[in-house]
Amino acid sequence: MTRPSGLPQPEGPYPPTDEMLAEPVPKDVQEAQAKRLRAAWETPKGWRYVTAVNNTEVGKWYCLTALVFMLLAGVMALIIRLQLAVPENDLVSADRFNQLFTMHGSAMMFLFAVPMFEAVSILLLPGMLGARDMPFPRLSAFGYWCFLIGGVFVIGSIFFDAAPRAGWFMYPPLATEDEGPGSDIWLLGLSFIEVASIAAAVELIVGTLKCRPPGMRVNIMPLYAWYVLVVGGMILFAFPPLIAGDFLFELERSFDWPFFDPTRGGDPMLWQHLFWIFGHPEVYIIFLPSIAIAAMIIPTVARRPIFGYSWIVLSAVGTGFLSFGLWVHHMFTTGLPSISLGFFSAASEAVVIPTGIQIFAFLATLMAGRVKMTLPMLWISGALAIFTMGGLTGVMLALAPFDFQAHDTYFIVAHLHYTLFGGMVFPVIAGVYYFFPFIQKRLMSDRLGKWAFWLTFSGFNLCFLPMHLTGLWGMPRRVYTYPGGLGWDWLNLISTVGAFVIAAGFATFVWDLIRPKHKQAQIPRNPWDGGTLEWTHDVPEEAWGVRSIPHVTTRYPLWDQPDMLARLDAGRYYLPDAEEGKRETLVTSVIDAEPVQVQRVTGPTWITLWAAAFTGGAFIFPTFSWYTPATISGALAICCIIWWLWTATAQVPEADSKDVGLGLRLPTYSAGPASVGWWAIWITMLGDATAFASLVFGFFFYWTASPDFPPDGAAHAVPGLIALAAAAFAVNWGLTVGARQLNRAGRVTPARICLVGAPLVAAAGAAALIYAVVELEPASHVYPAILWALAIWIAVHSGAGVIMQVYCLAGSLFGKLTPRYDADIWNVSLFWHFVTISALVTCAVLGLAPGAL
């Protein structure tokens, strides 16, 4: 149906034959290539260093920032433990204590655990995949700066005695009624970071699917990449419900729209559902990537391929799915029907099976191999021991009757810390020791590492093992002090001592990490004898990622393809050169990783910093009800992003194809499903659609939960205007897709006419939708409020869509978008596919539901 764009197809022999690979590259050619490559990938120096976007730099900043936030949250935990060391203590006030535990939980989750996955993956994944960089380096940098700004804002609030204090889950009505800006700081600051998380997830998914080295079919990619795919997918479905919840929550905080206020038809349970639909998968979003690090370390120490590769893939994918059926086990005591609790209890037990399988696969690998007990393996062993303990108490807590007893006691605190330390902290530290030579081209100290391990491990058990008992003896969570003589005194004192032993362990680890290592001799290139591609890294460091992108046919290429490393270094493989002085990486097909395109990737820039700063303003100013600066800041952020896209993405290349080595010629531009940008939009919009679905879920939740929804005699949205809006959105969709097809067919003028009409029609549709609800009083009852929320959601998306259409029109007028180079209009029509469906669903809910319910 769609006419081909006329861009060239890949040409030349693939896969390369042994003779082709055996042919040497002349020395002078090698040197000239390396020089050009080095120049293209050079990291900016001096104060321009912050403009770097290369994954190795952004990844390092990301990891260090998350580490600092973790240490701050750890200090908060120490203060909490000091306060609880003895009964009737008055070290901190009750209010300060509430701020401390709220911030400890929020920071550990949102500023450490989830960002750490993104940070580590951005840092390591391109190395494991033999890619030069992620497909969208500037997006990673933008995400990082957003994270930094949002994180400093949220965690900084505690120094002004203004931190959120209603618990990390922000349950209404406590959090909605709370005086002061604490809840707003939580909502807006963390929403901002959630957006950055989704950006990272998109980047990582596209990177795994499209930037693997040629020949790396899905059955031989590193297990880490499988985990990244699963976790990226989970982020897309788990974070949006929370964003939708935040949206409703902030509307209630700012404008008194009663989404969670039962006196006006709202329901606090909706928040609990939306929060835990995010919150439980999030536990696995934290756990899976950390266990993925174990899956990389274990084959190396066992000196054999992983046992049961397919079984581990099964357990990653299976856990990913099952983890979405567990959320109500955080709500067992909210009075849901016991049959409903039964479903969630059953699913909570079922998830143990895939989780257990991967641990057994690891143990089997270790038993079958010749284990060399290295420092990373020591940490992994600690992780497995601790995580198994946490898993066992998890099985107990998944049984609703037991949970009724243990709910909100220190037993839960013990359980969750066992899962998070065993499932996340220990594996990540193991990963730091294991990958440090890859990251910094230095080694960490074996002796300090052992000290750190034994201090942390014993301190951890000293702190949290007694807490099981404290909890079973009835001590509730989140109390700032307790009376003496209830049998809790000495248990709490032991826990406090343990907490400080953990702190000593962390201090040792952090010192080992940051102590100067300049005097160290040059390290071996592959110090652990690993088999995967990241150990082809250059020592001393080169910024190009990989000298040439290899053809990979095995799971452990360094073990199984003995000639590969020398050929890779000689530039025998793909893209050994940067003739045009541009940064490039290979794009390959999703399943079999056949090379399909040379992707130009972006380089250092200030624009991501500006964009992040203004985006930060748009989220942070509303916390203090400064709406005008927020609006200005938001507008400036949009300008920055447009400038960034216009000057750096989907550029018309100087030649349609280029020689990438080994006789292969690949196109330099692609549009539609062949391009990485299209995949990124598709994945982003999947997340966006999930958030929208959560809002619609809210509408039907109110109907389920209350006997009169919509209330008798309530005013409804104006049916005529709704019909008009639906018609306008349908026409707009036709015009957008029409513009794409006409443009591709070479009929540029009619395409431009469509692109003039489409934004006008879309704006008219959004206006009609808003006018349909404008007479309703959103603060009076939840029914008008949720109609308003849906209408606003669609109007905002239409606004973004209109900007995109105008962008395409401008592209067409200024020669950026032509019938041959039309990636932008493909991406924009994909965006509008999703928004049109959302808009039509909204029109159906607004117009038809009052009659149907």
Binding site: P15, S310, V552, T553, S589, T704
Partner: protein, 134 residues
């Protein structure tokens, strides 16, 4: 370990379509589990809130459980055939050929259908064991 001949483009595209289907097939069994789970939770929640006939709903959902089990069984069977371990004797599928990837995707889909099968049985148990909306 590379293939002997250079594949032609049209041949590739056909194969790609098949493999896209089998990548989708990996998620099919867990998706059936998810749909079954959502149906059980959603329908029971509305039934209890609105006072509908819980016994009829339980019976209907048990029928749905049966259907879900059959669906997963079918996915598992086709995946087992795709894995084809009885003939190849290859439990690991770590080779770099298109055939290895084909068998691997079958293997993974087969294992996932087993876990989904267990999941559906687990989630159906409350329908049998717990009587009403108390």
């Amino acid at each position: 370990m590379t293939e002997e001949h250079q594949p032609r483009r049209d041949e590739d595209q056909k194969e790609f379509a098949e493999e896209q289907a089998s990548l989708f097939k990996i998620t099919l069994a867990p998706l059936i589990w998810a749909a079954h789970f959502a149906a059980c939770y959603g329908l029971v929640a509305v039934t209890c809130a609105k006072g509908w006939d819980i016994d009829a709903v339980r019976f209907g959902l048990l029928v749905a459980s049966g259907a879900a089990l059959c669906g997963i069984g079918w996915v598992g069977l086709t995946a087992w055939r795709q894995w084809n371990v009885a003939q190849t004797g290859d439990f690991v599928n770590r080779g770099g050929r298109a055939e290895d990837r084909h068998h691997f995707l079958g293997h993974a889909a087969f294992l996932l259908s087993i876990i989904s099968l267990i999941g559906v049985v687990f989630v159906s148990l409350p329908l049998v064991l717990i009587g009403g909306c108390q």
